[in-house]
Amino acid sequence: MAEPMRIRATMAGDVADVKVLMNHPMETGQRKDAKTGQLVPALFIQEVTATINGATVLSANLGSGISKNPYLGFKVKGPKVGDKVVVNWVDSKGDKNTAEAAIS
């Protein structure tokens, strides 16, 4: 999946509020294709890592039970406006995606 991730990172007091929207079908492997009647194979993001100024803040394992176009929100105490948030994901096929945003 090459669709770009969207990251929103803002400071609320001394806590960075980070929201990420990833684009991915998150197929469970149990859905039948409406046209062919065949099961659509499982394909879903398995790992997400987030860093702020290079330091890992979140390391997530996801399963296919996370909704399509995964959304993740988390909060980090300590960063400042301008710090760089980088999010990476890898899916069950090995496809990757990365995006970054500065905390505003």
Binding site: L58, S59, N61, K68, K77, S92
Partner: protein
Amino acid sequence: MNALRRNVLKGAAGAGTVAVAVAAGLLKPTQVMADWNAAAFDAKNVGDAMKSLGVSAPVDSKDIVIKAPDIAENGAVVPVEVTSNIAGTTSIAIIAEKNGTPLVGNFTLSGGTQGFISTRIKMGQTSLVRAVVMAGGKTYTAAKEVKVTIGGCGG
């Protein structure tokens, strides 16, 4: 000594199933997603999922707050927020107890990351949504029921 056998024995000492399989040459390293806990995510019931996460007998805690709907609008996209007010929270796992594979996500927090995760999950039917929190080497849990209906007037 057979190098392969040595690897298998070394791997079996404390690493996960995946690492053992790699060491035994059963899985090529390129096929392995570092750290993705397949056993936990493939577990078909809550007990097995917790065991694969290395969790046993988590303590019920009122310091874990689960914000989730009473009745899900659409079981494909249920907003769930877990806040852990337990000091030193290092991970939050989210489990939809009656899903075919109950473990939905496991979030490891580091640096100044707070005990808070917001996401959207799929639920196949009414069930408890459970959070399992690790903090200070101990495990805690809380759960909230979310009803899922087969509705849909929507055209």
